[in-house]
Amino acid sequence: MTTDKTQPTAVRKAEAGAPAPRTTLLRALTAAGGAAAVVSTFLAWTWTAEFPGDLTVYGYPGGLQLLTLVLGIATGVFALAALDLKGLRWLTPSGSTQALRMLALGTFAVTWFTVIAIAVDLDGLVNLEPGGWIAAVVTAVPVATTFLLPDDTRPLCRPKELPSWAEILIIAAVFAVGLYVVNYGIQTDADHPEPFIGYLIAVGFAAVALVKAGLISRVSELTNSYRSVTLVAALITAIVFPFFQDKSSFTELGVNIAIFATVALGLNIVVGLAGLLDLGYVAFLGVGAYTAALVSGSTASTIDVRFPFWAAVITGGVVSLIFGVVIGAPTLRLRGDYLAIVTLGFGEIFRLAMLNLDGTSGPSVTNGPDGIPNIPPLEIFGFNFNDEHSVGGISLDSNGNYYLLMLLVTVVVVLIFSRAGNSRIGRAWVAIREDETAATAMGINGFRVKLIAFALGATLAGVAGAVWAHFQSTVVPEQYVFAGPVPPNSTFLVAAVILGGMGTIGGPLLGATLLYLIPKKLEFLQDYQLLAFGVALILLMRFRPEGIVPNRRQQLEYHETGQLDVPGATGLKDGAVGVTKAEA
């Protein structure tokens, strides 16, 4: 009897302590597979340099091989962590198997994508060198082994106590790596889609792997406890971005991303916080841009004034605000989807009005389809934005100047969003979005509060539009459409907000970045951009309705209902203590 009882306990103990030999073997095989993948990237995969990237050399990896290399290393290292190698256990706070599967799949997908792309681009499998075959075979091994591994997902374990300088260093390192990854994507060759597609595959799988391993939760715990450090790190990362670009066109991508992300964030106040669907938001950007162009002193402007930049920006914002109030005041009194319809109409009316205020169909204000070109370059305190300037030995061209200016606007909008959102008025917005009847019964003047959100959104778009007009040095009506192949258009902005995550700061920034960058890098996609939006949104609604970046409330929901409850809560509490300590 006693032996019967003790034996199973012993066995269970053994299982918990040391994994079954089969599991160990599979993990070792996975590590070996990762290593083999790494080795294969040092071989030539093809014989001609016609394929983008340098995949023809024995001895060092190049082009898409680099992605296989990085993912191969990651697979190997995580497999070693799964084998309980000392010093690596921190890599998998919430289990290794799922992360390993994602990494193995990522390595496999990137490698096979490369190999197949070589065969297709160069017409035939004969173009593959033995290295390509080897890579294709060895990257399949970890896929097989990881899917045979038992799932070891566990609730997030408590992190080891680290001194605060180490934690801050980790945050800095995370941002540095982030900057490197973003840079890599932006600098991929725009003439060939293959490197960017490979990059997207690799980043996608790696990101999911990091989530599954629990590292993302770990990092967000850290960033939560060091809020100001995180903000500074994010700001520094964004500021140094243009100094890392060797081509001005890359910085230009950065400027456009900053503008569209900022506008999307402004829209997020309206859509995400207050729950008002604004389908003509781009028109407010247009109002700001046109206003700024008219008062900029452009030779083509019908008004003969030249405002300094700050005044042009304020004028743009104020005129946008007025339009916002004029559109919002009659519509926001009504419940239901009237606002969506009215804003949709306003967007189109704005574009048509700009087209027709050309002196023949209407009063001469906007030069019709020609728009207002020749907006003079910005000059603030004698600092000409179109000239190249040198900062500490590193020169910054026109795009770099505008990038930094735009970044300033982004920071202001982020501040406005977070401060307004986290206050009495922000709570009223969310309450209205959640249940308008209950909100009014709690004493909230629904009309007033909604109008404030709508007008604030319009003003921010107007300000961004004023900067954008100067950056583009021209405004034309066709930039401000409801839907079209080039951003900004209202569909693009709404999609960026929904895709990224409504009601969050990071969401629209990330959403706008992805939606802008992907079609930009994959030119062949541009004609299908709207289709791709649709597909992306359908997939998102099916698999991640809260958007890529879930907001705090949804995260909380996850924490409360999921297994993560207890350790997550203690982690947060520790974080809070950390903050008070840091502040004291």
Partner: protein
């Protein structure tokens, strides 16, 4: 025990609400005095919730007026709340994706003034007001026993606690009169008892309470005065004893048609349908009441 000498917090005069051909509330007069707990009972569909909606401005009454401490209220919900009448909803209407604390903070809206500018500038005044709101909200959560759930999403609370949170949120506007629409619906006997205590405590804090409830034991325990609404009309009003022994009430409320009542058959049918599962159409409600009585007695004995 009525305190008719003091001037009333609430004076509803001739409140009538018609939806097309249907008169949901007809010429109802009702006063609530400071420090009073008044019950509003009546069969389903009698117009109780509609009457509440008229009082709080969610509906604009077809006729009649509502006055708070002698001032006639405009039929705008936020102005009614600002004046000092707060309410809960029969079908819980919390802000599901906000935390418990945030829900109560929203309730503070009318008692704070910080607008967009002060939120953006974050001056010392803003921080002070925000801290004061939080402190008051936590106090109310403490009062309703939800303090330890402050950071939970309100949608994840169990049903009974959601009802309590509705009360806490309503109290956050420091109301002079609290309207509770079926606060114990769906609660077990223990929770009902706790809510009873809570309502007494609210009254002791100086807030008058007007409460709709189907649980007769709850109502007659709690209320200084009870009004009975049937078919949109006020049938009787008086102390628990008076109402309990009124024949018309027994007839109307328990579903036996009384003489001359228009459409009383329909009311009876509704009652019968409700009693559904219990055998004996008219006996259903009585049996139910008896059962409640027994449960309560055993409880008391413990």
């Amino acid at each position: 025990m009525t305190t008719t000498t003091t001037s009333p917090v609430l004076t509803a005069t001739g409140v009538t609400m018609r939806f097309g051909g249907l008169t949901a509330v007809q010429a109802v007069d009702l006063d609530v005095h400071p420090g009073e707990i008044v019950g509003l009972i009546g069969p389903n569909g009698a117009g109780k919730t509609t009457f509440f909606n008229c009082l709080t401005g969610l509906y604009v009454p077809t006729e009649g007026s509502v006055a708070y401490r002698g001032t006639v209220l405009p039929p705008k919900p936020h102005l009614v709340t600002q004046a000092g009448i707060a309410r809960t909803f029969q079908n819980i209407r919390l802000f599901a994706n906000m935390t418990v604390l945030e829900n109560v903070l929203v309730g503070r809206h009318t008692r704070t003034k910080e607008g967009l500018w002060s939120a953006l500038l974050r001056g010392p005044g803003f921080k002070r007001a925000e801290a004061a709101s939080k402190a008051r909200a936590m106090e109310l959560l403490e009062f309703t026993g939800l303090a330890d759930k402050a950071d939970h999403l309100s949608r994840n609370l169990p049903y009974g606690e959601q009802r309590k949170l509705e009360i806490a949120r309503a109290l956050a506007s420091d109301p002079g009169l609290l309207l509770l629409d079926e606060p114990t619906a769906g609660m077990n006997p223990q929770e009902t008892r706790a809510t009873e205590e809570l309502v007494f405590a609210i009254r002791d804090l100086g807030t008058a309470v007007l409460v709709i409830e189907h649980d007769m034991r709850f109502i007659f325990n709690l209320c200084d005065r009870v009004a009975v609404l049937v078919q949109g009309q006020k049938l009787v009003e008086g102390t628990s004893e008076v109402v309990q022994s009124d024949e018309r009430v027994i007839a109307a409320y328990l579903g036996t048609p009384f003489e001359g009542a228009p459409g009383a058959e329909e009311a009876a049918e509704v009652e019968a349908a409700e009693a559904g599962a219990t055998p004996g159409a008219t006996g259903g409600a009585t049996q139910d009441g008896a059962q409640r009585g027994t449960t309560a007695r055993t409880e008391d004995g413990q």
